[in-house]
Amino acid sequence: MKPDPSKLRQQTREHEEHALHQAQQKQTALEFAAAEEMIRHDAAHTPVPPQIAERLNESLAREPKPAVSWWRRLFSRGQ
């Protein structure tokens, strides 16, 4: 007897959905010995939003140039 093609398609789809569900449930386990180690990992994976540099760019353009300290003026004169 020939299998019903629609039933076969249904089974295949169920199979794929099950495999996908399993893949989604498969998670990466991370283990840390101490709180600061975990925080360090989190910090390393937290990028700085590029908007901050853009905003600083605008803010610095409005700022007067910072005064140069006496010792830096002194050193630059010697060079």
């Binding site: 998670q27 991370l30 283990e31 600061e36 180690e37 989190d42 937290t46 901050i52 540099a53």
Partner: protein, 216 residues
């Protein structure tokens, strides 16, 4: 070769009560503009990035942003705070004398800035009043490794955990997590001795482990 400024030291003269407020656009306007810029190219090139100050920003922005993010608990506020911290640093660059490292100096500005923000009405009503005793008498063993399954949820869980801790522990853990800071640096930033930092760190780890388990 490293920037000469980045390797030299600044004196921290930042006093939260005497700081000139950072004047910037109203927050809403700034955010609207940020959204526009995020969609396209910036209006003007980041010329300052190639300067001494730019080198300082490149070297320390990530740490300052992360500290602000975890102290304030809000990415938008952390963004504003990081901007303000670096703007204050830019304005105070002439006070460079050499009692502390640039990183420590920036951390001090950031801590003062975040504390000021946390003292506002809004934050006073949002901060949880965690009792030290709850965590210190917890039965959770601290020698067990901290496990997390969902990598993407790690940040949220760390945030919840830190918010449940007393401010002193939260700051201590965040500073000790920065490998570029010594115990002496952390002690200077938190106004205590290095020995006191080591002692409190043990209790802070225990409190973190207990709170972290609670938010599983």
């Amino acid at each position: 070769m490293a920037s000469p400024v980045a390797s030299k030291e600044f004196v921290d003269t930042t006093d939260a009560s005497q700081e000139k407020p950072v004047e910037h656009e109203p927050v809403q306007a700034g955010r609207a503009r940020d959204r526009n810029e995020a969609q396209g190219a910036p209006d003007r090139p980041l010329i300052w990035i190639s300067t001494e100050f730019g080198a300082i920003y490149e070297a320390h922005a990530q740490s300052i942003y992360y500290l602000a993010l975890r102290l304030l608990g809000d990415p938008t506020q952390a963004e504003d705070a990081t901007h303000d911290v670096f703007l204050k640093a830019y304005r105070k660059m002439n006070q460079f004398r050499g009692d502390s490292a640039v990183r420590t100096w920036l951390y001090r500005i950031a801590i003062n800035h975040c504390r000021n923000l946390l003292q506002t009405w809004h934050h006073r009503h949002m901060v949880t009043n965690a009792d030290d005793a709850i965590w210190e008498t917890s039965s959770v063993a601290t020698d067990n490794p901290l496990r997390v399954l969902e990598t993407k949820e790690l940040g949220q869980r760390i945030q919840k955990t830190l918010e449940a801790l007393p401010e002193e522990y939260r700051l201590l853990l965040l500073l000790v997590a920065d490998e570029k800071l010594s115990y002496q640096d952390v002690a200077a930033l938190t106004g205590q001795t290095a020995d006191a930092v080591r002692g409190k760190l043990h209790r802070a780890r225990k409190a973190f482990a207990a709170a972290f388990a609670k938010f599983a």
